[in-house]
Amino acid sequence: MNVTNHQAIAVILLSAFFVYSIRFLGLALGKRLPKTGVFKKAMDALPGTIFAALVFPGLLAAGWQGLIAAVFVVFITKKTGNVMLAMLTGVAAVALLRIPLF
């Protein structure tokens, strides 16, 4: 299953090409983008919905421990704004909840 060196470099270069192209296209099309309407609405919503899509299956895959940890993560991020602290607490919560009690 492990990634070979060739695959690693291919993944990185292809990702770099995509990510750079996005940066460059935004710059190139900057003035021509609609500032209102459907396109703007969709683009404004996209970052959040992508993260929702990214997170949800992972949380379910982690089971009830993951769901409880997620509550902690959300709470700490909201309270402190510290993403690192929230992440570490979430990981610690899952680790603790995985300890078999009997």
């Binding site: 460059f24 997170v55 949800f56």
Partner: protein
């Protein structure tokens, strides 16, 4: 001349140092996770320079050992970074007087952190593109060095599940998602996204769930009436 307005590069650099410290802690942990995942020092160094995006890199490394085809990992990285399109579009006016070659390298230095700082400064006073690039170089130095230090500290644990390291990326993405929450109007789009993502994750191979979830949620946002 761009460089005549001396000091804007340094101003941007200095203004980005506080967020650089945030990048530093994130980078250290990310570096440790990369070592844990099995990325070599040189592969990671190449990624830091070539991709230069925390969220895209986190997605790539999160999928690293799961047997995904190369193109799917790259598409997933691109999908979480579609927002860069909006960031660079917003700073396009700052680069109007720069030639295309000059724009081509400068735009690589746009990250969430220094973009926000330059935009805030731009609202208060006049800025040049050097402010943005100075901030980007600052963030880049913090990012590169902290990730590499984290990787060097990196230890490989006998069974990472025991320490819930397999949950690290999910926890990180959850925290990042909280920061993207725009309030009530996100409820429906996020539910649609999560539901679609779950179905796609169950039934489709690879990373399609990220793309399909994101797009369907975004479509839901468009279809909602104003004021919903």
């Amino acid at each position: 001349m761009v460089f005549d307005k001396g000091g804007d590069f340094y101003k941007g650099f200095r203004a980005s140092v506080p967020t650089g410290l945030g990048v530093l802690t994130y980078g250290l942990v990310f570096g440790v996770l990369c070592a844990e995942t099995g990325l070599s020092f040189s592969v990671l160094a190449l990624m830091n320079v070539a991709v230069f995006s925390g969220s895209a890199q986190a997605v790539i490394v999160g999928m690293w050992n799961d047997g995904f085809p190369v193109w799917q990992m790259a598409v997933a990285a691109a999908v979480v970074n579609v927002r860069y399109f909006l960031l660079t579009a917003a700073v396009a006016p700052l680069m109007e007087h720069v030639g295309w070659l000059g724009r081509a390298w400068r735009v690589h230095f746009v990250t969430d952190e220094n973009w926000a700082i330059t935009m805030a400064e731009w609202r208060r006073s006049e800025v040049t593109v050097n402010h943005l690039v100075g901030g980007g170089v600052c963030v880049g130095i913090f990012w590169f060095s902290s990730v590499m230090v984290g990787h060097s500290l990196g230890f490989t644990l006998e069974n990472p599940e025991k320490y819930a390291l397999d949950f690290a990326f999910t926890a990180l993405f959850t925290a990042l998602a909280v920061n993207m929450w725009r309030g009530k109007r996100d409820v429906l789009p996020w539910l649609v996204s999560a539901g679609t993502a779950f179905l796609a994750w169950k039934h489709l191979p690879g990373a399609w769930y990220v793309l399909l979830g994101g797009i369907s949620g975004s479509a839901a946002a468009v279809l909602m009436k104003e004021g919903d």
